[in-house]
Symmetry: C2
Subunit: 185 residues, 2 copies
DNA sequence: GTCTATATTCCGATAGAC
DNA sequence: GTCTATCGGAATATAGAC
């Protein structure tokens, strides 16, 4: 089954949003690579805000499937897979979607913001549960509660996808490894 | 001594850059509050990239003065003051300048990127030295080396100024406090 | 679903007067 | 240093044909 045009637009939009920022790409940047016209993109997403809504929903879908697939794995393995996922973001020269939406926050209409909030809560809750499980199993140690630890891991790793644009690749690996090492019991 | 127009433009530009993003504000957003015309802003900064250079240099200046003023303070107090500074960023609805520049990275010309890199290295080195000192004095404990710890603190705190736009104020305080608690010996 | 054509608005930037 | 006036370009978005 081939990917629909709608799906292709979402994926390209996501790519541009995270590589350049919401206000730094245009419908032309989407229509050109797909060899369609500006107006065809507007058919699928009347306004840019509609596209942003779809991108946020797409991330909710992906994350939902990801968490289902990980449900049977050990806390430590779940966390490793999560961090490796961020490593692939970094390698593709994108930043994490949460930070991308956050810095462009005031360019987004409420309908977009709500979707982003729902996605972010999904991630934070998933991380919190993972950490709590790891603590209960004695695999992790931390002096903080689960949500605080989740927030620190999430903020460290998503900020790293931004920071390494300024410093160096090596710093990403440092942070990623330190997250795992610090939790290890 | 009153602030020069040039200085006012830089401060307003910095404010807009961090509240909305580099591509989300225009020269009109600067000229209107200052009650001058678009062209007057172009006189001081011919292109928007020139303004971005000045903003980055301004941060280097401020941070240089800050670190001089802190030189005699204890490592723990230096860190506390640094984190409180981020708290004031958060309260003013801005994000940290490093993350703002990073997410808009590909909209910036090399001359801007170089300034941003220099500023960021200033901050990371200052944090690393502070942490190393704290370790040597037995005030801090960490299983990581100084630069890695510095990267984790910096990324956690600057990402928090972004993340709380999506979640809640309370999460900022959680992260800030956890940074101090985790290091405490 | 995709096209052509176009309306409208806004932005960065410059010329030249004061 | 600030102004008026304006250029050229690009962006979002819509109307209507196919």
């Amino acid at each position: 089954m081939s990917t629909s045009t709608r799906e292709k637009i979402i994926q390209l939009g996501d790519d541009l949003l995270r590589k350049r920022g919401f206000n730094a790409f245009s419908y032309a940047d989407i229509s050109k690579p797909l060899h369609i016209k500006n107006a065809a993109v507007h058919y699928h997403f009347p306004s840019k805000q509609d596209l942003a809504v779809a991108i946020a929903q797409w991330h909710k879908d992906i994350f939902g499937r990801f968490s289902l697939k990980m449900a049977n794995k050990e806390p430590k393995d779940r966390l490793k897979t999560f961090l490796n996922f961020y490593h692939s973001i970094h390698l593709s020269e994108k930043v994490d979607i949460i930070g991308a939406f956050a810095t462009d926050w005031h360019s987004l209409e409420p309908k977009v913001q709500t979707e982003v909030q729902e996605f972010t809560e999904l991630v934070i809750n998933w991380l919190s549960e993972l950490i709590q499980e790891g603590l209960d199993l004695g695999q992790f140690r931390t002096t903080q509660n689960a949500r605080t630890t989740a927030l620190r891991i999430l903020s460290s790793i998503f900020a790293s996808t931004q920071l390494v644009r300024i410093t160096s690749d090596h710093d990403f690996t440092r942070v990623k490894n330190s997250i795992l090492e610090e939790l290890n019991n």
